[in-house]
Amino acid sequence: MSLWRLEWLRMVRTHRWLVLVGVFLTFGVLGPVTARYLADIVGSVAGDITIVVPDPRPVDGILQFVSNATQVGVLAVVVVAASALSIDARVEVAAFLRTRVRHAGGLLWPRYGVIALTAVLALILGTAAAWILTSLLLGELPAGPMIVGTLYGALYLCFAVAVVAAAGALVRSTLPAVLLGIVTLLSLPVIGIIPAVQPWLPSHLVFAVVELLEGEAATTYLRAATVTLVTIPALLLTASWQLERREL
């Protein structure tokens, strides 16, 4: 049994994959349905008040999905990632593994890989569901922006998992790792208030799929994607280094 299989079994036997796929798939279904029937939903609860809801566009189905997925979905990814990437949270289990690997950092890569892969697959499944339902309920969506936007979103999820990996190496327990990960991810949009910085931030990729569907050029996100691609290995190497020097 290799460390990769160990992580695969962790994902499957603890049903963590179900949490990730369930969350993204649920919002993938609910997003287009909500966008399509928003006027009816609002009308049924508004009573005598008249609320004018503009006719839904196809992009609104994806917008609803992405809005929910970036909140609850990312939170689910952070929690699932922290539970596996807090490598030293249980000292006895950590001692068993650490005394049998050449470098403690070697425990990190399979955990990161399996979680990031599962998160990306969950995102792809959710996006596919949202895409299909939007096409059925609201109208066709162009394939190019959908695919490129989803890839940008997947890159952001990989970044989120890397942030949690670094947090898990910095603090020992799972809960502090979750909190540190969330605080770090939430701080990026706050920093993004500065217009000059915003295009460079990984958080700029979150709504890329929606903005691409609305006509934004794919190259707009190259700076953020580049920073993210550089930051992910930097975070993982930092986490690995920290794990190496941390005592059990």
């Binding site: 049994m1 290799s2 006895e92 001692a95 068993f96 603090v171 502090p176 005592e247 059990l248």
Partner: protein, 395 residues
Amino acid sequence: MQLPAGPLLWGLVLAGTLVVLIDAALLLDLRRAEVRHLPRWAWGLVIVLVSFPIGEILYLVVGRVPVAERVPDGGRDSNPLAGAPPAVRPTATRDVRAMPGAGDPVIATTAVTKTYGDTTALDQVDLVVPRGATYGLIGPNGAGKTTMLSILAGLRQPTSGAFHLGVERRRVAVLVDTPLFEPWLTAREVVDLARTLVAPDLGGDRVDIALREVGLSDAAERRTGGFSRGMLQRLGIATCLVGAPEVLMLDEPSSALDPAGRREVLDLIGRLAGTTTIVLSTHILADVQQVCDVVGVIDEGRLRYQGPIEELLARTSSRYRLQVRGDATALADRLGREPWVTDVEVQGTGRLQVVTDDAAQAEHGLPRLVAEGGIRLVSLNPATDLETAFLELTR
């Protein structure tokens, strides 16, 4: 500029005072606490300079090592062996390098010291484990045994000093005192994982052999989440054996086992002796006396003795139990006048315990005095054991 007045002013003063008090309390705590990631002075700056309450929370969550994580050996506890606080004694270490197999020691530490904040867990320890030895590292709880083993296992770094490992790191197997595994793995998967990590070249049949060796063949397909502590301990031993290690470090391996399980572990250690170097850390002295040939007595972080177990017993105050026919009071009076007798105790009709500081004289003198007194001798036995030796060293 208009200064705030009235309730607002008092509110600001109150808030400011609160912040100062909290920061002062944290700075006081910082002086005593163990910190990580940054030096102590840097955490002081974080507390004072970073906006309230972010700096304070950062220190508490990230910087301060929780009490539960410090000095994992714990303090001195109710272990009856711990006894009263020991007086500081010089280390009584025989040069174990002169022992058979010690020319190329498998483990040798040089002045290894480990501190946690103000607590010294290990103090200038020079440990030498001869190749092929079964080395018993004994001491009361909190003595520094687990810290020593953790350093040797590579799980912690010494604060100062160095250590030499005479084999590849992956040829060293370590069993922690309370082994725990992923609860969703089966016993077979756990052992196979250990095999893959340390000895992938060994065949998969090693897994079955290791499980059979510890009596877990029937539970091989069960998930470890439902295992008792004893089963986890056995499984831990199997994960060590599967890689055919050259050095086996066992931390309290029989602490969770019933008498039969303990016997099996001791038999296992006995079988491995000679082919595998074993370091056995325990406070169960009877186990050490049964299976170890070399012993290191550690107490309050200091190595009080290191050398062959027989030598430790020999240098300890010798005790003898005598059984004679009839009343032993007259013999006790006679023995009490001998210069080599330090204590005589009548323990019942015809039974005596004699303590001496000169075993050679005692072994000549005791039968002679019994014969001179015309007393019938039933038995004469040495009463010195490892526990006595240990208590003499650590009290």
